[in-house]
Symmetry: C2
Subunit: 414 residues, 2 copies
């Protein structure tokens, strides 16, 4: 088995399939826009179905439009699932999501070719939606599979052009699942292959990672209220300068995060000054904080220290502070047994890999609480994602497919 996987030459085929799928929703200026239930999305899903069938897989849609391709096993009560989401952000790249579907189909093709009928069903899924880019709802695909998505969640939402979710879904040929039925019980494991969307693997020159955790995150919006004043006529001692207070907070918060060390990350991504005029002492500053870590306790302890220090600074500066914690998601650990099993396969097949966490969210975090789940990453050029410049070398996307073949062999044939 080791010899077979090592010798597979998948670079050209994988890269070619990525190009092929990117034709569905290709933007004239480069990049891909394949948003949920659009014409491009419908055509892409149907093209994937044809390809699945051409590879000898049993292909079918579920009610909401997730597309499955099955390699039937001896024991049809158990299914090992792989795949990712087919939707992109607006003007996104060719890899995010798409790569996990293509890797899945190719893995099933070569498993079938070299090892024949598996012990359990092995299935690849092209999930309807993950990005939340057309409608204000994310993970529509995976949340339907595990039974979390509800009709009422999307019944009243519309896209940026005012098109109702339900209308878009119906026009694409799909509808709601039967919520009286429970979620699928045949799923024994889920393995998702994805681009890293970060630059760790590229920097460390490692082609594959096994993901053992998806970070939890807290997001805050902080509003500081000082006093707007004339920049020329207000002596320094008379000021309540909201940007000055914010600058100290941001500098201390980010410095604290750096001292705390990996895997903690903290970002102040948005900043707004008011009235935002060159010759007015700013009376208001509004900024966001995004804190992530793989360990819930570590998030709690950091954010507690952080907000305590911010309270002190706001008092020193005599500015009023409002902190709004508007996102608080726990880390999602991957299944240690599946992680260990994929690691073992990587070692046996001679893949140069590392174990790392994911700093971004993925469909896997929806599966993990109900199905033993793990992920494989391949490098992202300069960490770029959600952008037409998204890129992974063909030799690296091939390594990811090999890692997946090994993992599915281990999960589906033994």
């Amino acid at each position: 088995m080791k010899d077979i996987i090592q010798k597979l030459d998948l670079a050209e085929e994988t890269a070619g399939r990525l190009e092929w799928l990117a034709e569905y929703g290709k933007d004239p200026e480069g990049g891909v826009s394949r948003l949920l239930y659009t014409k491009e999305w419908v055509e892409g899903q149907h093209a994937l179905k044809e390809w699945m069938e051409a590879e000898g897989l049993e292909a079918r849609f579920d009610e909401i439009g997730n597309l499955y391709g099955t390699l039937k096993g001896k024991n049809t009560d158990e299914t090992v699932l792989t795949g990712s989401h087919v939707d992109t952000v607006k003007n996104g790249g060719r890899f995010d999501g798409a790569y996990g579907i293509i890797a899945g189909i190719l893995a099933l093709k070569y498993l079938k070719k070299h090892f024949g009928e598996p012990l359990r069903n092995i299935e690849v899924v092209s999930m309807a939606e993950e990005e939340g880019s057309r409608f204000p709802y994310s993970f529509w695909g995976s949340k339907n599979i595990v039974g979390l998505a509800k009709r009422e969640d999307v019944e009243d939402i519309k896209d940026f052009d005012g098109v109702p979710f339900v209308e878009a879904m119906n026009n694409a040929g799909f509808g709601f699942r039967d919520e009286s039925k429970g979620p699928r019980e045949d799923l024994k494991a889920f393995v998702e292959v994805h681009v890293e969307q970060g630059s760790v693997l590229e920097t460390e020159k490692i082609p594959v990672a096994v993901v053992n955790n998806i970070v939890g995150q807290r997001r805050y919006t902080v509003e500081l209220i000082g006093e707007a004043n004339h920049a020329g006529t207000t002596p320094m001692g008379y000021r309540k300068d909201a940007v000055f207070a914010a600058s100290q907070m941001i500098h201390e918060i980010i410095s604290m995060a750096r001292e705390t060390g990996d895997p903690l990350v903290t970002t102040v991504g948005k900043f707004e000054a008011q009235p935002n005029i060159v010759n007015v002492v700013p009376g208001k500053a509004i900024f966001t904080i995004d804190v992530r870590h793989t360990d819930k306790e570590a998030i709690l302890s950091f954010t507690e220290k952080m907000t305590a220090r911010m309270q002190e600074i706001s008092k020193e500066h005599e500015v009023e502070m409002n902190i709004d914690l508007w996102m608080d998601e726990d880390p999602v650990p991957m299944d240690p047994k599946v992680v260990e099993l994929i690691e073992k396969q990587c070692r046996e097949n001679g893949l140069n890999y590392k174990v790392m966490h994911s700093g971004a969210g993925h469909d896997s975090q929806i599966f993990a609480p109900v199905v033993p789940t793990a992920m494989l990453f391949v490098p992202s050029l300069k960490g770029i994602s959600h952008n037409p410049a998204e890129f992974t070398e063909p030799k690296d996307v091939a390594e990811g497919v090999k890692g997946l073949i090994g993992a599915l062999y281990e999960l589906g044939y033994k």
Copy 2:
């Protein structure tokens, strides 16, 4: 003379005239918009002319629309000038500019009433424009009086509705001055009364200030270029976070300014992060710096230290820095003799006053290089200006008029 000035009860009359002038350009929602050469402006200037005439002053417009009211002296070759600008910002207050004109007319009225014909002409001017709020040109009034304004400066400029400057001027009944003629040579002194537009006098509970200097200022735009990255997948050590670098710079710059002490003021009024998204490490930060001081050397030494430190910080953070110095104006000292003479009058007339600098620009800075000039300030409620909430207590505006009467007596009758 002392007894006469001290006993004048001017509070009600001055406050009444401020209300009266504010009718010209009154905004429905409160505040005043009296922009250069608009209908409101024309009506305001003509109403002022009628009032001047009613007080027995010789009133006339110059070519561009500055309005003068003269109390003729024995020696008609010498003129002492007072006044300020009649234009407002969009939705401005009742005091900025207007108060200096009203104070001037009232001063001339009471000088004439109590002291008769002066030795020199004493003239009040309602200057056409100072704010630069309708057209991209400031100090049109004073720059014409001292011969600095040129036809070519305004020939191609338009207002926000596309109306050419020249068309607006002609429609208001005015045109260019004869540039072949030199500026007026009869001006022996200029004294401008104005609201402080800061909160020093209010805080120190002092009704009048004699201004001895108008600050110089430097304005910069700073651009920091780091690298935009995913907020979840980019470990802290891999980041070039432009907002983090900016936060350290701003905190250090403002702290340095506070340590340096009065009269230095430094403001970061505008701040922009890019791409300004909660979950993206910001690749760019753009902010402005406004530095003011009454001493040119002090501005140079502070800004040199400041930019050197910013260079260091940008290197430490590995972000590229572009600094654009786009305004560099020297301080304008007032005439020490005129300042001393006004101080003397304040003392003699029992006015509670202090000597201070102006942190904002005024018409006086245009006069000062060519005519011995000084200013009087009265308090601004909470330092508010350029806003409908602009306010000064009637008793304080009256004290300013008394200070001006004393100053003009000293300059015009002796």
